[in-house]
Subunit: 228 residues, 2 copies
Amino acid sequence: MSEGRVAALRKLALLGAMERSLKISSAEFARVLETSLQTASRRLQDLEKDGLIHRDIVADGQWVVITEKGIELLKSEFEEYQRIFSKMEGGESVELVGSVMSGLGEGRYYVSQEGYKRQFREKLGFVPFPGTLNLLLRDHSVALRRRLDLRSGIKIEGFTAENRTFGGSKCFFCEILRDGCDDVKCAVVIPERTHYPENVIEIISPVNLRERLGLKDGDELRVRVILS
Amino acid sequence: MSEGRVAALRKLALLGAMERSLKISSAEFARVLETSLQTASRRLQDLEKDGLIHRDIVADGQWVVITEKGIELLKSEFEEYQRIFSKMEGGESVELVGSVMSGLGEGRYYVSQEGYKRQFREKLGFVPFPGTLNLLLRDHSVALRRRLDLRSGIKIEGFTAENRTFGGSKCFFCEILRDGCDDVKCAVVIPERTHYPENVIEIISPVNLRERLGLKDGDELRVRVILS
DNA sequence: ATTACTAAGAAACGAGTAG
DNA sequence: TCTACTCGTTTCTTAGTAA
């Protein structure tokens, strides 16, 4: 249920007890904490014992103020969260790891289609090398890969040509995490086909990545996929 | 000791498990949580049960990734802290409440000293009305008032004149929390005297506050003191 | 109405053990 | 090593009671 002392302290801060004295009874506090009256009362006692709040008990309740020590505690937790989420400010991303595998040769055929090429140039800013670099993800990366399903990414529309239909897909810009690859533009392409395997990603790039990086089947590669 | 589930989740986030899969054993995790191996192991199990992380258990440890649901939980806590501390961005302050009391007439004498007047004009931007408005703080405000002792405020130097010494003091800008008082400049003056009472504050202002606000002894007044 | 006890029940912890 | 149990011990919770 509750998460304890600091959760209680946080609620008090939310009620303004950092900068003014707050009149509250244990019963009211129990309601905001969603716990019993006894626990709410004990929380206030404990916080006072720990020097995190100051209390004045009067006939019809109590006046509560968070002390400097209490503020410091909240501030340190806040800073922890800032550290966590400051990483995400430069664009949310996931880091996938997998091994290079031979494609079925399909990639080259699809990527070469004029209907796709035009959209890649317009939406990604480059015309890909005819061929995809396929990565077989390690098991632990699959959960992260699944996160892409919840994002819309950069939409590539389907079209009809050569008497057949070509399905849509979505793309995410990515970076190859290897020395000297910072400047290589690339993107992950995820077809909208329902039966697409979860443990494979296809990477396109203006250059032949396999050659450029000297990759052979089975080599491990880390890729940072930009979500936002 | 520990603060439970979310503390564990937060540590995992700090270790990077929001954007990459993290290889960690229960023993290592126990070390970062400062708890027993059993508890660390159970935390991971529970977080997985709650759908906050995804795990892949391998022979020599486990791969951990925080799920979208887990990220949402952390984000909502982060937002709570942001709400708490965003209030403080426009200047940290404390809100004191007390009742108007008659001074001993000392205020008028001190404030009229040229040595003080010059500094008030330079450092506060106004020359105070000759007289202070004294507030007898309510008990529950004393703890907040004490917070001023930890701050340096705006230093007013002591000096010698008329064959005696006038001690130093520190000031904090403040606002009277009453309709139509937004534009009234005022400040709390706290003498450096060691025996100054904790439950009294003296307010100076370019205008006669007592008249301007129609105050009489015993009237309650709320004041926001700016700390930073 | 309050806050603060007490005591029984529930939940969490951690040493030891299995696999 | 590792994870995941069991189980005795400790801690936390909450209904009931007192002041």
